[in-house]
């Protein structure tokens, strides 16, 4: 059940209605928890056990950490939480990858290993809910959070359906207080929430899904296409993945808002970033801040010498890449971003060169950042290195033996989307929508909804980030 399916709209309408009809916070929370498990069970009920396991382990670990002041004991409880979550993640997501990589490594040095292989299904959302529960235990360990004594609250923090399968990665410090003091129906800003849901729907179902066939055709066999096609398909993928993921996040945030909960912003016009650091402040914000708080800073962060900082950056980004999927492509993708961040830091710190902050510089810097991000997306999207290499050649040195071309009218489309991207970021800041009279808003929303349905794809391709 994905957010753009009609059965989800029906499901949400039912959850929303009963949620607000029920009296009492506990009853509402219980209903939401039940709905969340039903939502997840619609994917695969067998993996509900993993969510329960993760919930209970961290609930107990959280209480255990807080119950004692003894550092050793606190550490043991934390280790239990980390072992359980990383164990689940490692087994379901990375077991095959590490096994395969080990076998290749052994083969390259002359050993033939017969390692036990398993056909493991990747439970949807596993990377998201395990990171979420780990942050809970880590926050308690670092004394940034008091554990919840309510298993219901803990269950809802982990399993809340809008963010369960693809984020945003919610922090307990943000979410648990909301569960203790829930909002009432009258305090909800429905207009922004409904518009956010519809804009997310349009991003995913209209823009991303309609670009997908063109991108798929190109990445399937780039050798068939001219190098100019690479300059359409690669930006096309950049649009596709942004609209896919940020569309999902928008819908998740909107659904949560309509149920009275606030989720963190996950995207902030990332393709308008002025440099690569700025990009990571705008792209998948909940993951980048998670990595910053629970990996980069514990590794040492900005403390220590230049080498230590660069090492911390590189490690964080490599692991960030690996978080996306069990493949070397993702690791290298993360590595490239890490390298770019390190270079930027060196440039600023080491050389002390400050270019004039004028429009031209900002434009060049933004354009170069966007080009670099697109370049990295090649590694992210390509199924293997030879395909990635083929596309990189076409995208950087315009070399391709293929003859098929893509319509250049795609560029008109991309430019229009870029303008819309810019306008949308201004609208977000301006909150102009709240000034629109509600009857006009309601009618306009109906018009937009009818147009969206007409321009969406007839099937419902899953969200790209579900595989992570």
């Amino acid at each position: 059940m994905i957010f753009t399916e009609f059965r989800f709209l029906a499901f949400f309408a039912m959850v929303f209605s009963l949620h607000w009809l029920l009296r009492g916070a506990s009853l509402r929370k219980a209903w939401l928890l039940l709905s969340s498990y039903a939502f997840y069970a619609a994917w695969d009920w067998r993996f509900l056990g993993l969510i329960w396991l993760s919930t209970i382990v961290d609930y107990v670990a959280g209480l255990g950490i807080a119950a004692t002041e003894a550092p050793k004991s606190r550490k043991r409880w934390l280790q239990l939480s980390l072992a359980a979550n990383l164990g689940i993640l490692g087994f379901f997501k990375y077991y095959g990858f590490f096994l395969d990589s080990t076998a290749r490594l052994l083969h390259s040095i002359g050993f033939e290993a017969n390692l036990p292989t398993l056909q493991i299904i990747l439970p949807v959302g596993i990377s998201f809910f395990t990171f979420q529960t780990m942050s809970y235990s880590l926050d308690i360990y670092y004394r940034r959070l008091q554990p919840t004594r309510s298993l219901l609250d803990m269950g809802l923090f982990v399993g809340f359906f809008p963010q369960l399968v693809a984020g945003p990665i919610v922090r307990a410090a943000d979410f648990l207080p909301q569960l203790r003091a829930p909002q009432g129906l009258t305090s909800i800003a429905f207009k922004p929430a409904l518009l956010l849901f519809l804009s997310g729907f349009i991003k995913k179902a209209v823009i991303s899904d309609n670009i997908a066939p063109m991108v798929e055709a190109y990445f399937e066999d780039p050798s068939l296409w001219t190098s100019s096609a690479a300059w359409i398909a690669v930006p096309g993928y950049a649009v596709q993945i942004y609209c896919d993921f940020s569309g999902y996040s928008d819908m998740a945030i909107a659904c949560a808002a309509m149920l009275g909960y606030r989720l963190c912003l996950n995207f902030n016009a990332p393709y308008l970033a002025s440099d690569i650091r700025d990009f990571w402040r705008r792209w998948h914000i909940s993951l980048s801040t998670w990595l910053r708080d629970y990996l980069y800073i514990p590794l040492g962060g900005n403390r220590g010498g230049a080498f230590a900082v660069q090492r911390n950056l590189a490690l964080t980004m490599l692991l960030g890449g690996l978080w996306h999927g069990a493949s070397w492509n993702f690791v290298i993708w993360g590595g490239l971003h890490g390298l770019a961040l390190a270079l930027q830091r060196s440039w600023e710190r080491g050389f002390g060169v400050r270019l004039p902050d004028n429009l031209l510089r900002r434009l060049i810097s933004s354009a170069f950042t966007l080009w670099f991000v697109c370049l990295c997306w090649i590694l992210f999207r390509a199924t293997d290195f030879s395909t990635a290499w083929e596309i990189l050649r076409a995208f950087t040195v315009f070399h391709s033996d293929g003859e098929q071309s893509l319509s250049t009218s795609w560029w008109i489309y991309f430019v229009l989307l870029y303008v819309a991207h810019r306008l949308a970021s201004h609208l977000q800041q301006g909150k102009a929508i709240e000034k629109v009279p509600t009857p006009v808003f309601a009618f306009g929303l109906g018009v937009l909804a009818a147009l969206s349905f007409a321009f969406m794809r007839v099937d419902h391709p899953p969200f790209i980030y579900f595989q992570f």
């Binding site: 009609f6 309609n210 009857p439 009618f443 007409a454 007839v458």
Partner: protein
């Protein structure tokens, strides 16, 4: 609460108005657009499944009946896999198009089918005929049917989903943009309309789909199956036949609709290898005026001979020519009778 309800109504109004506007721009199947360009001299339309599409040759039919002398022509509006519900929908659309010379619509007599004939869900044609009337008819019939509960509900869900997708123009936006921005389609040399540009595309190995070629090969491997199937057909006893209530009500409605537009329907039974119940009974009861039935091997043995068949279910090109000629003769007889009693 009242205010929220009013806002909901406004949302629905915006939605419905826009959906209706888009719907008016959604292009129809090409054959309906084509009919619009040839309706001024069309007096006979053939409607039905591949049995019609692949077997009724309008040019030959017109030659046989001397249509040229009257400045009229016939056209073939058949399409692969068409069922009775789709025929009813198209009849409605054709009559709305008001062809000034249209006098007869030859419609293949088919069973009233609650099932989906194949798994081609949400195809444009299937969506097109799932209008409110057709869908409601099917849902009502399914409610009253004696199908197993699970199957019944699954079918209801699928039909309603087709109706819903059609109503909200799901994924038809790009078709609308294309239809609005592109040049109107040309029907001068459209391969879908056949060699003579009259809608007839005969079954020939060179032009058929891979599936049809497979059917042909299987037929040639065991041609005796045709004879065996023909012999196994149950005997015809019109007075003993019962008429399915859904079939009866739909057919009577179609007859009335055509009559109101001054058009006659000739129901035509293909040389089938199974008996479609109820048609002879409806003829005997006067519910339908004209029935041309070729599904009796005793009366029409040639239709059941291997040499005239392309596969087990269709006539080949020569067989189709033969059938068209026979039908032209039957048609003239019907026309004479109709003219004698004041015409349709």
């Amino acid at each position: 609460m009242l205010r929220a309800f009013l806002h909901l109504l406004l949302f629905l109004a915006g939605f419905l108005l826009t959906a209706t506007w888009i719907h008016s721009l959604v292009p129809e199947r090409q054959k309906l657009e084509w009919l619009d360009t040839v309706k001024h001299d069309t007096d006979v339309i053939f409607l039905g499944s591949s049995h019609v599409y692949r077997q009724f040759d309008p040019q030959l039919f017109d030659l046989q009946r001397g249509a040229a002398a009257n400045g009229v022509r016939s056209i073939n509006m058949g399409a692969l896999g068409m069922g009775l519900n789709e025929e009813a929908f198209l009849l409605n659309r054709i009559l709305k198009q008001r062809s000034p010379k249209l006098r007869w619509i030859v419609i293949e007599a088919l069973p009233f089918d609650l099932q989906f004939q194949n798994e081609n869900d949400f195809g444009k044609r299937r969506l097109e005929w799932h209008d409110t009337e057709s869908t409601w008819r099917l849902v009502r019939s399914l409610f009253q049917s004696e199908l197993p509960r699970n199957e019944k509900w699954s079918l209801i869900r699928r039909h309603v989903e087709h109706w819903w997708r059609r109503s909200i123009n799901l994924a038809r936006g790009l078709d609308v943009v294309e239809a609005v921005s592109a040049e109107p389609p040309s029907f001068d040399s459209n391969p879908g309309l056949g060699m003579n540009q009259d809608g007839y595309v005969p079954l020939q190995m060179a032009t058929v789909t891979k599936r049809s070629r497979g059917m042909r090969q299987r037929f040639l491997q065991n041609p005796q199956a045709l004879l065996a199937a023909a012999q196994a057909l149950p005997k015809l006893k019109a007075e003993e036949q019962s008429v399915d209530e859904d079939l009866h009500s739909l057919v009577v409605g179609m007859e009335a609709q055509a009559a109101a537009a001054g058009v006659g329907i000739i129901w035509w039974l293909h040389p089938n290898l199974e008996r479609y119940q109820g048609w002879r009974k409806m003829k005997a009861d006067g519910d339908i005026h004209h029935l041309v039935a070729y599904d009796d091997p005793a009366l029409y043995p040639a239709f059941y001979q291997v040499r005239w068949r392309f596969d087990l279910y269709h006539l080949n090109r020569k067989g189709a020519e033969m059938m068209t000629k026979i039908f032209a003769a039957d048609f003239l007889a019907i026309e004479q009778v109709a003219a004698g009693v004041g015409g349709q």
